[in-house]
Assembly symmetry: C2
Homo-oligomer: 281 residues x 2
């Protein structure tokens, strides 16, 4: 497995791969890999001849006061895990390779980025779409893989690719969970044992919402009220948002019909966790 | 010569061309072609095997109250002229093919777009970078050609390509002028005979600035004062801006040294014309 640090070397690598007639997959990550990332990489390897994983903690998607500096990093472990699942190359550029002095260009998806995580994290999705746009241009993959865990990000990136006519396919891979239901996240490492236990309230709340909907509840306010009640009963939890939106365009809905996204963001202590469930009725 | 109206057909065309091992040039235009455009196309044909010219009057780069609706169009004439200089395909999509319902994504270059034409035309460059980004993704050219006439646009597009790591080269082609010095522009058609005569003040003023600098003047304010004096002496002219900037990064300068851009935008009657001169001392 190659580890590549510069745009130029990455381009040369991909040019060689494409000249050999191989298809290329990209799995963009911020590293500190867990089973969720590895599921993306396995799917990528099934689909394409060559898998490139990027590992780049993108400063432009962190807000002021967020955890950019302390975001967990372990490149040696990441490289071992990626190699085990068949990744062919890791693209791991330094920040100044991606954002040299005088950097001035941003890609922004409007409307879809206004609510949910976009409301709590202004500028976050602008940072995400900008870096993902760059990564697509550098690696020029045939297919790129993202996790359903970041549901809004997935929809925003699909929209960017469609709107800007980027020549690649986006595949969204289901959430991978710990045996007790907690969604895999690099940020889970921040949790104390008591917080780790309390964090289960996210998945339990989603399960409760699913149960209500399966039992016939179609009122969005009714389901949200019950979800808030459960979350607020957990002393270590502080709700950022709980929402039910149309799963296609994230529009606000009052009645549950078709495919809906049940999504929440909750602080457990100081750690902000997100989770979601797609429900179809 | 092929005339193509859809993104899908454009992609198929380019895929075939690339599979055949040919290089591809793109010349983005808003049509109503003049010798300036044709110079870009000839340069493109010298450089690449296949030349695609896009003809698309991009609504997103026109401000409220600007001339989108009345911008001159003549597709039959454009097709004939393009074919004569060896263009292989024209990409001429309808507006809804480029901006379908629900379109939400914008590419923005900051700082470089703040002064000059960016000050007078808020949102203009955002519209330009967005459509050019799309055209690059649709056509995937090896080289794209732009005119020095739109000096700020050329610098902004170069920055976008560098910042977003777009895999192509940008070539800037010198201004083509009428025999009397007026820079070629599709908007020259708006001018009455008296305005056409008055419009010569743009080039004469640039020539005067060049003369002063060649004679040793190094003070930006001194040159600008003389330029304003000349422009204001023309009754049909209303100055939008007259500026001398660093030609590399458009930074504001007080002293003329190295490569500088002498740029102006002037209303002749109701028609806004721009022109510029690169000077190296």
């Amino acid at each position: 497995m190659r580890i590549i640090h510069t745009v130029r070397e990455m381009r040369d690598y991909v040019r060689g791969v494409k000249l050999a007639g191989h298809t290329v997959a990209l799995v963009p990550t911020m590293g500190y890999l867990h089973e969720g990332h590895l599921a993306l990489m396995r799917r990528a390897k099934e689909r394409c001849d060559v898998v490139v994983a990027s590992i780049f903690v993108n400063p432009k998607q962190f807000g002021v006061g967020e955890d950019f500096e302390r975001y967990p990093r372990d490149m040696a472990r990441d490289a071992r895990l990626a190699e085990e699942v068949g990744v062919d190359a890791i693209f791991n550029p330094p920040v100044e390779e991606m954002y040299p002095a005088g950097y001035n260009t941003y890609v922004e998806v409007e409307k879809l980025t206004e609510g949910l995580c976009g409301a709590a994290r202004p500028g976050h999705f602008r940072g995400v779409t900008t870096v993902v746009n760059k990564l697509f241009n550098i690696v020029q993959p045939d297919v790129a893989f993202f996790g359903q865990k970041d549901a809004q990000q997935a929809i925003v990136i699909r929209q960017m690719v469609a709107d800007l006519n980027m020549p690649l396919e986006i595949v969204i891979v289901p959430i991978v969970r710990e045996p007790d239901g907690l969604a895999m996240s690099s940020r889970n490492v921040y949790l104390t044992p008591a917080e780790r236990e309390a964090a289960l309230v996210l998945y339990r709340t989603l399960q409760r919402a699913n149960g209500l909907i399966m039992a016939g509840e179609r009122s969005v306010p009714a389901v949200l009220t019950e979800m808030r009640r459960m979350l607020e009963a957990e002393p270590l939890a502080t709700v950022d948002y709980v929402e039910i939106r149309d799963a296609g365009d994230l529009s606000v809905i009052d009645t549950i019909q078709g495919r809906v996204l049940v999504a929440l963001a909750v602080f457990i202590g100081r750690t902000r966790l997100i989770d979601n469930l797609l429900v179809e009725v």
